[in-house]
């Protein structure tokens, strides 16, 4: 009881107790997440990084030499280079197309349209469905003889396209399917962005004499730029890791004639099919740095876009 009345002196028990608390309290809250992160992300990452330098690594732990040979092998492997090219093309098409489409849809959903709830639900449906299950549905849509897509094309006098079995069209099929599956998440984020724009700016712009097109491009879009930047980064990262989408469409193969290798498929192939663990690790590290560089670039651009 006496202690309470004493002044809290530097180094006193009370102060030390407060300091200890100030340290341990946040640590206690963060610990569960940090343990998981270190155990399942940081530690394996470091291991993969080290592994990528070991040649002929066996699960027993034995390896023949330590060096950059895995990287040299991977970077000269035509399958990997093909995967790099395909992944690049994939990102280059899927992300912008999905972003622009999502912008239009989110904009429409943001207005008071009839059957708004119905539209909202249907656009968000892909989000709650299994990518593989829906992939199988898309496999049917793409079917050469009976597919709905070829039927629709035939209505416009376009002859049937062999989406899934002609290597020339494999990437297009993958892109179409992926754009569709990327829409809901992008729409949700963009819709939130749209709803964050104070409607007063629209009123102000109308009083200033602007018509809807002008308002969209001069007011809405710039105010939405940070959100668009965010969705672009997230989508680019996830698109760089394209893999799951391949399975239902091409029966677990990378395209009809092994033409549609992606970086992650290559990794998977090296790891599970060929047991070349070092090469798998090296390709993983290369992908990691590509994604990292893309993200840093994006962040810089985004900071420029964050305009107020």
């Amino acid at each position: 009881m006496k202690r309470k009345n004493e002044l809290v002196k530097e180094g006193s028990l009370v102060e030390r107790a407060t300091k200890t608390r100030a340290f341990f309290e946040p640590v206690a809250f963060l610990a569960p997440f940090m343990v998981g992160l270190i155990l399942f992300t940081v530690y394996p990452f470091i291991n993969v990084f080290i592994l990528s330098f070991k040649q002929n690594y066996k699960l027993s732990g034995a390896f023949s030499s330590f060096g950059l040979k895995n990287y040299a092998d991977v970077l000269s492997d035509p399958n990997f280079l093909n995967g790099l090219k395909n992944t690049g093309l994939y990102v280059l098409f899927v992300v912008p197309i999905a972003t622009v489409l999502s912008l239009f849809i989110a904009n429409a959903l943001n207005h008071d349209i009839k059957l708004k709830a119905v539209f909202q639900t249907s656009y968000f449906l892909p989000m709650v469905t299994s990518i593989t299950a829906v992939g199988l549905v898309w496999k049917w849509l793409f079917n050469y003889d009976y597919g709905l897509i070829n039927y629709l094309l035939s209505l416009f006098g376009i002859s049937a396209i062999n989406w899934l079995n002609n290597p020339a069209y494999n990437l297009s099929a993958l892109i179409i399917y992926s754009v569709w599956s990327m829409l809901p998440f992008t729409i949700i984020l963009l819709l939130a962005g749209f709803q964050n724009v104070d409607p007063q700016y629209y009123t102000a712009a109308r009083v200033d004499g602007a018509k809807s097109g002008k308002i969209f491009f001069r007011i809405t879009l710039p105010l939405l730029a940070p959100t668009i930047g965010l969705t672009t980064i997230i989508n680019m990262i996830s698109a760089s890791k394209v893999f799951t989408e391949l399975f239902p469409l091409f029966n677990g193969k990378p395209g009809s004639a092994y033409s549609l290798y992606t970086v992650v498929y290559y990794l998977y192939d090296m790891f599970y099919a060929q047991w070349k663990l070092g090469k798998a690790a090296a390709s993983a590290i290369i992908l990691f740095f590509i994604v990292l560089i893309l993200t840093l670039l994006q962040l810089r651009i985004q900071r420029k876009w964050k305009n107020y």
Binding site: D198, Q200, Y201, T203, A204, A205, R206, V207, D208, G209, A210, K211, K214, R218, I219, P222, L223, A225, N307, Y308
Partner: protein
């Protein structure tokens, strides 16, 4: 540009926000819509700007009926209560935006914006974004933006309510100066009577969407047409003394004390009335009518001294001469000046004297 509102009405569902409003705003004048919050003044403004469609009635800009014209075609300048400056544009870009819409060449746009910035004294702020500016600065930019397209009508929706007291007085003088310089017909909305009285050529008082009175600030204060206007204007508020009519005289409630007033028309005996007296119209020293009263309290508010007086069981506040030697508990006699004293029908609010 003369603005004329004819039987203007606005309903939101079942609620009537503005009811049968007719008024004229003369070319180049500054008119204020004054009333407590929720009285429909902003609704009227938004109907003039075209943001809200009128339920019925007409709006005329000179001899052109603009009732159905969308806001982007009305050529009005509007200053919003929270300014609504585009956050991603600099002050200069904000001011230029309406000109950009009008397809004014870029060079002229910037020239015009700089001229306006000069007038509004923000030349040194043109490169800043709204978030880097204070409320007062944002407000000036908003005014410049509204004036940039040379609007036929200049509308301001409580533009001073987000500013601190000192800045408010400064900006209100500034607005007056800008309006005088630009000679644009202006409608100003406020709930602040001091603001309204100090800058307007003419003030319209609204209550629950119903027109009360249109007059100059002076007239509104000196000759309120009804009880609401008398009560709404003035700080400290006008004193309300309740009573009934007897032989054409106002007699205090539950009291024999009566006083004679010049009535506008004969009023029947027994009618319940309210005698409204401005605090500065109470005379303590030289009074014509000798009404006994007791000093309940005396206190000072800045430069003035106020006394709370008890007269026939009712209280009223009056300004007193600081040198006048009265203190709590004193019994004295008071009277009223000719000016600033009104008699109203308690039920209808109609002015009787």
């Amino acid at each position: 540009m003369q603005i004329k509102l004819e039987h203007l009405e606005k309903k939101f569902g079942d609620a009537t926000a503005v009811q049968d409003l007719s008024l004229t705003i003369e070319n180049g004048k500054l008119l204020t819509l004054l009333g407590p919050s929720g009285c429909g003044k902003s609704t009227v403004l938004n109907m003039i700007s075209g943001i809200l469609a009128a339920t019925s009635g007409r709006i005329w800009f000179d001899d052109k009926d603009v009732t159905g014209v969308p806001p982007e075609k009305r050529n009005v300048g509007l200053v919003f209560q929270n300014y609504a400056l585009y956050p991603h544009m600099t002050a200069l870009e904000n001011i230029c935006f309406p000109l950009e819409i009008k397809r004014v060449p870029k060079k002229q746009r910037i020239e015009r914006a700089r001229e306006l910035a000069e007038l509004i004294r923000i030349s040194d702020l043109l490169d800043r974004k709204p978030l880097q500016m204070s409320g007062g600065q944002q407000q000036r930019v908003a005014i410049a933006r509204a004036l940039a397209k040379e609007p036929q009508v200049f509308l301001m929706d409580e533009p001073l309510s987000n500013l601190d007291a000192k800045l408010r007085v400064e900006m209100r003088e500034e607005i007056l100066r800008i309006q005088r310089a630009s000679k644009v017909t202006t409608v100003f909305v406020t709930h602040d009577q001091e603001e309204a009285l100090s800058i307007s050529d003419s003030v319209v008082v609204l209550k629950n969407g119903v027109f009360q009175q249109q007059a100059t600030a002076r007239t509104l204060y000196d000759e309120p047409e009804n009880y609401f206007v008398a009560d709404f204007l003035g700080t400290p508020p006008i004193n309300k003394l309740f009573g009934v009519m007897k032989n054409g005289c106002f007699c205090f409630k539950d009291s024999d004390l009566c006083c004679e007033l010049p009535l506008r028309h004969p009023v029947e005996d027994g009618k319940e009335t309210v005698l409204a007296v401005r605090p500065e119209s109470i005379l303590l020293s030289v009074a014509q009518q000798k009404l006994p009263c007791v000093v309940d309290e005396r206190y000072s508010v800045g430069k003035d001294e106020l006394a709370i007086l008890n007269i026939a069981g009712q209280t009223m506040r009056g300004f007193v001469n600081p040198e006048y030697p009265i203190s709590t508990g004193d019994k004295l006699e008071c009277g009223f000046k000719q000016r600033g004293i009104f008699l109203f029908d308690k039920k209808t609010g109609e002015r009787l004297s």
